[in-house]
């Protein structure tokens, strides 16, 4: 029904998109933050975007979650709306402007979660077929017990949808979370080959993982091409204020 999805590079975008995926507690956010810092310090054009962060849609999403109004279908659609808003208004313009765009979670999060919630995979993939594939996807793989431990140790208060309570897997929220995360992990692993995930051993120390992340980014993306030309342009207000000063050069010529 849909033509095979292409990466931004294959579609001729000057920018490149790097995504991280993994279970909660896999350390992916830390890794992408460290990658962002490294790229910025080299003076490269970088933009970072997080899953579920469109300001337009956020209100509806948080209301739906707080009041437990979401079904698998509306959960899927509202996240797709959020993604589409960020995709059309931010990701695409930045990629066309030649940025390296870093995404903490991309469409694979939706593929995994919505499928576990019982939405047909073809339907979900069809909906997200407007989006191009990342040029690089890092999947942070941890044994289930480790990521559960990291989450359950650090933040014992779990949210309803986060724990998959809507699936009625267990009346115990922790048990529900365990089962839910286990199923999501299965989905990720099943997608891993199809979407060329770079599978990272998220059991290793953060700094060791980061060395490998940076190496893989350097090997796969010609970073020199993403250098910012000159300093950042001044904000419009400052530019205007500067223009008011009479240019000396003109005065000399007239003399």
């Amino acid at each position: 029904m849909y033509s095979p999805m292409k990466t931004f590079a294959e579609l001729g975008f000057p920018g490149r998109l790097i995504a991280v995926e993994g279970l909660d507690g896999s350390g992916k956010s830390t890794q992408i933050y460290l990658l962002k810092r490294w790229l910025e310090l080299q003076g490269l054009k970088v933009f970072f975007s997080e899953w579920n962060s469109s300001t337009l849609v956020k209100n509806a999403t948080s209301k739906g979650k707080k009041r437990e109004l979401l079904s698998p279908t509306t959960f899927s659609l509202i996240h797709a709306t959020d993604f589409a808003d960020r995709y059309e208004r931010q990701l695409v313009p930045f990629l066309r402007a030649g940025y390296i765009v870093l995404c903490d979670r991309y469409i694979f999060t939706a593929f995994a979660r919505d499928t576990v919630r019982g939405c047909p995979p073809e339907w979900v993939r069809g909906i997200y077929s407007f989006a191009a594939l990342p040029d690089l996807v890092f999947f942070f793989k941890t044994p289930l017990e480790i990521s559960l431990q990291r989450i359950l140790d650090g933040r014992p208060k779990l949210k309803f949808f986060e724990a998959g309570m809507d699936l009625h897997l267990s009346t115990d929220i922790y048990e529900s979370f365990r089962i839910f995360q286990g199923r999501i992990l299965e989905q990720y692993l099943a997608m891993s080959r199809e979407f060329n995930f770079m599978v990272m051993d998220a059991n290793q120390r953060a700094e060791i993982q980061q060395v490998l992340v940076r190496k893989l980014v350097k090997e796969n993306i010609d970073l020199a091409g993403f250098k910012r030309q000159g300093p950042l342009p001044l904000p419009p207000a400052v530019r205007k204020a500067k223009k008011v000063e009479p240019p000396e050069l003109v005065a000399e010529e007239e003399a």
């Binding site: 509806a60 279908t73 509306t74 509202i78």
Partner: protein, 238 residues
């Protein structure tokens, strides 16, 4: 996905996979959708139908666009600023539709109500198609929708629509004129062009979806008579 064989014509089906866990056979009520532009007489006709059905002792429920608990307020707000791009707008409306489908339409049908939809997925699809969205993509998206028992499209000439909208609101609506599409800076021209495009999109959709065209250029009473006749047949048909 269950595909009906040619010999077995199911009385009730979703266009695609539908809503997970819902068996269409359990939906005893009737779903009737009325489509048409602003000024086509949709609301008037639906009010007439409700009165008529309730008089005959049949319980009804009404749904329409942008009426969900989940996203209607947010969608309204986002539209005011006109900052949504087309995929986002399409998905936002689909979310609104899905929420009403699951929380109003399906429960009411299960309870044997007649559900009157003041516009259904076809208006949404036509709007998105006019804005360049892919038809196959939209069909997949709205595979969640239940096929209505009857869909009536109130067709009115764009010039007649102009007259009715001006008489009613003393202006033409920004969205109903498709001003976001930049056809023309002139509201009047844009309205005519947009409504013409919408009609084309409906004709395109008619190839895959079954709906009846009703000539709504005629007086209200004539249209009401038509609708009642058709709906009577549909209600007593089984």
């Amino acid at each position: 996905m269950r595909k009906p064989s040619p010999t077995e014509v199911p009385s009730r089906r979703f266009y695609g996979h539908g809503i997970p866990g819902v068996n269409p056979a359990e939906l005893a009520g009737k779903l009737i959708a009325v489509e048409g532009a602003d000024g086509s007489g949709r609301s008037t006709q639906i009010a007439q139908l409700v009165a008529w059905l309730e008089t005959s002792g049949r319980p009804t429920v009404q749904v329409g666009l942008k009426r969900s608990t989940l996203v209607s307020a947010e969608l309204e707000k986002a539209q005011e600023g006109n900052i949504l791009s087309r995929t986002t707008l399409a998905l936002f409306y689909a979310t609104d539709f899905a929420d009403q489908l699951e929380n109003i339409i399906l429960p009411a049908l299960r309870a044997g109500f007649i559900v009157l939809a003041d516009r259904y997925i076809y208006t949404l699809m036509a709007r998105d198609m006019v804005r360049g969205m892919d038809e196959a993509w939209l069909k997949n998206l709205y595979g969640i929708a239940l096929e209505p028992d009857g869909v009536f499209y109130l067709s009115v000439e764009p010039l007649e629509l102009v007259q009715r909208n001006l008489a009613k609101s003393a202006t033409l609506d920004y969205w109903e004129s498709g001003m976001d599409l930049g056809f023309s800076p002139d509201l009047f021209d844009s309205f005519l062009k947009y409504q013409g495009r919408m009609e084309e999109a409906f004709k395109q959709l008619q190839k895959s979806y079954d709906f009846e065209m009703i000539d709504a250029n005629r007086p209200v009473e004539a249209v009401t008579r038509d609708l009642r006749k058709k709906i009577s047949i549909l209600l007593n048909g089984d």
